[in-house]
């Protein structure tokens, strides 16, 4: 099997698994308990918090453990909204291609009277700090812009946006779920007030993440019912997962530059190979792009068929077609960068990792070429394109 869906989730690394095991049975205590097994677990929890804080460039007291990226996004946005509402500030700036954890939360706030400006991400899949600056108003209570897009991998100018937000005194949150462990991040240097991350995107366990919130930023609870996480997130801490996350994050950050160099080289080879297929386009600017992200559209075919045929050849990938999303519309990300519906249906995302080999990339290119040819051979749209009855959208 060739696994090229690391943006969906990753396999856990051995270090993460090893770090979890002692906390499943031996040191299984509840950190809120006074007895030894509880207090040992609490020490481990504090240790993990310190290690993660160091990797983000923040204080341990600024790290809140959550169930993952979605919860962290929800809490960050709802907190900023609650803070804004107190002073009559009910305007939020974001982008059109955020993760649904952000977009759906913003939709909810709109129903409560908030006004949301979604910045255009252009065909490149990039916003500029100037566009953010131009959108900021007197009543803006939050700028929330993802660090790197989960579908097309484009990396936003986060430090520049952070500087703008700091100068204008507007809180800045970034959904960094796809970025942490893959890109160098320093929340202080980049003036990030809140950041969401999720462990399973960097070879850690699923169901665990972090909300970093700058000291003094008032958080509102998404989950009520206990004093955990300084009263801001109730529920007994998932110690095994937290230990696994800390181990995976350390490994990813220590090897970050080496991995990025290796993976981006393979990514470029993959992009070049796929673009030799006629009427194929890369989605999102080629740079700056996550080291492992490749996303293309093939004209005249639909994405689910591509995935099924690739899966039959042992290749795991993803698509933004409507058929794979379970909704009628194709990916909102591809629509946001201006791809028409019929083109967005024919998308393929391949997200590779440091475990991917050059031979894997060669195999993916070959299998994709065959797959696209097979599906085009039975597509009436492709026939019409070839016979000139329909105009190519992708040249």
């Amino acid at each position: 099997m060739i696994y090229a869906d690391n943006a969906a989730t990753t396999a856990m690394c051995d270090e993460a698994i090893a770090a979890m095991i002692p906390y499943c049975k031996q040191i299984f205590g509840n950190p809120s308990s006074l007895h030894t097994v509880g207090q040992v677990a609490k020490e481990a929890l504090n240790d993990a918090r310190e290690r993660i804080a160091k990797l983000l460039g923040c204080e341990p007291t600024e790290v809140y453990f959550t169930s993952g990226g979605s919860e962290a996004d929800n809490q960050a946005i709802l907190s900023a909204a609650a803070r804004g509402a107190k002073t009559g500030k009910k305007h939020i700036i974001s982008t059109a291609f955020e993760h649904h954890a952000v977009l759906h939360t913003l939709k909810k706030l709109e129903k409560q009277g908030f006004e949301v400006t979604l910045l255009d991400v252009h065909e490149s899949g990039l916003v500029t700090a100037q566009e953010v600056a131009d959108a900021i108003r007197e009543d803006t209570c939050l700028v929330t812009i993802m660090y790197a897009n989960n579908e097309i991998g484009t990396i936003q100018p986060i430090a520049e946006i952070g500087a703008v937000c700091k100068a204008r005194k507007v809180p800045f949150h970034t959904d960094a779920v796809q970025a942490v462990g893959h890109l160098k991040i320093d929340v202080r240097r980049e003036n990030i007030d809140m950041l969401s991350l999720s462990a399973h995107k960097f070879h850690g366990p699923k169901g665990i993440g972090v909300l970093y919130a700058r000291k003094g930023f008032p958080l509102v609870n998404v989950i009520e019912g206990g004093a955990q996480e300084r009263g801001k997130r109730a529920g007994t801490e998932n110690i095994p997962a937290i230990m696994g996350m800390a181990a995976a994050m350390e490994k990813a950050c220590v090897n970050l530059e080496k991995n990025a160099a290796y993976v981006s080289k393979l990514r470029d080879k993959l992009i070049d190979g796929l673009l030799t297929i006629p009427h194929t386009v890369l989605n999102g600017a080629r740079e700056p792009r996550l080291p492992g992200n490749v996303n293309v559209c093939f004209e005249g075919i639909e994405g689910e068929g591509i995935l099924l045929l690739l899966d039959a050849k042992g290749i795991c990938a993803s698509s933004g077609s409507a058929c794979t999303s379970g909704s009628l519309d194709p990916s909102h990300v591809l629509l946001a960068i201006g791809r028409p519906h019929e083109i967005a249906h024919g998308s393929l995302r391949l997200s590779i990792s440091e475990e991917t080999t050059e031979a894997d990339v060669d195999a993916i290119i070959q299998a994709t070429k065959e797959t696209v040819a097979t599906l085009r051979s039975m597509s009436p749209v492709w026939r019409d394109l070839q016979e000139g009855k329909r105009q190519y959208v992708i040249q």
């Binding site: 639909e302 019929e342 039975m378 009436p380």
Partner: protein
């Protein structure tokens, strides 16, 4: 798994893919914007489907539904062909996930459109009610 073995078989090894030159009836339904287009070609001899081919732009279940539908109507008299329902196509595939049932509807509609085209071309009178209005936004 998302799909039955039968759906996967018909997707991986679709029957009757292609076109028929000088087909007696051609039906195309769906649109690319929605992500699926189905095109059926019929060769009719003595009121019987002597040959049938399909081309489909769409997901796995759309391709499998087209393939199965062509198998079900090949060799059948048109009176029987017109009785083919989307339910029969889905059942022959051992079922489709709920959000994929529209693929079997598309197959039924494409076949009806092809038969209607055959009737129209040959000035064969028919009851308009025989052909339902395509629900999938056949280009007006």
């Amino acid at each position: 798994m998302l799909y039955s073995e039968k759906v996967m078989d018909h997707f991986m090894h679709p029957r009757n893919v292609g076109t028929i030159e000088n087909a007696d009836g051609v039906g195309e339904v769906g649109n690319a914007k929605c992500g699926d287009i189905m095109k059926i070609y019929l060769k009719i001899e003595d009121g019987i489907v002597a040959d049938v081919k399909f081309e489909t732009f769409g997901c796995g279940s759309a391709i499998a539904s087209s393939s199965m539908a062509t198998e079900l109507i090949k060799g059948q008299p048109l009176s029987e062909v017109l009785k083919l329902t989307n339910k029969a196509v889905a059942e022959a595939l051992d079922g489709l996930p709920a959000h994929k049932l529209h693929c079997s509807v598309l197959a039924e509609e494409a076949i009806q459109a092809a038969v209607k085209d055959y009737y129209d071309k040959n000035h064969i009178p028919y009851d308009e009610d025989t052909f339902r209005v395509p629900s999938h936004g056949e280009e007006a």
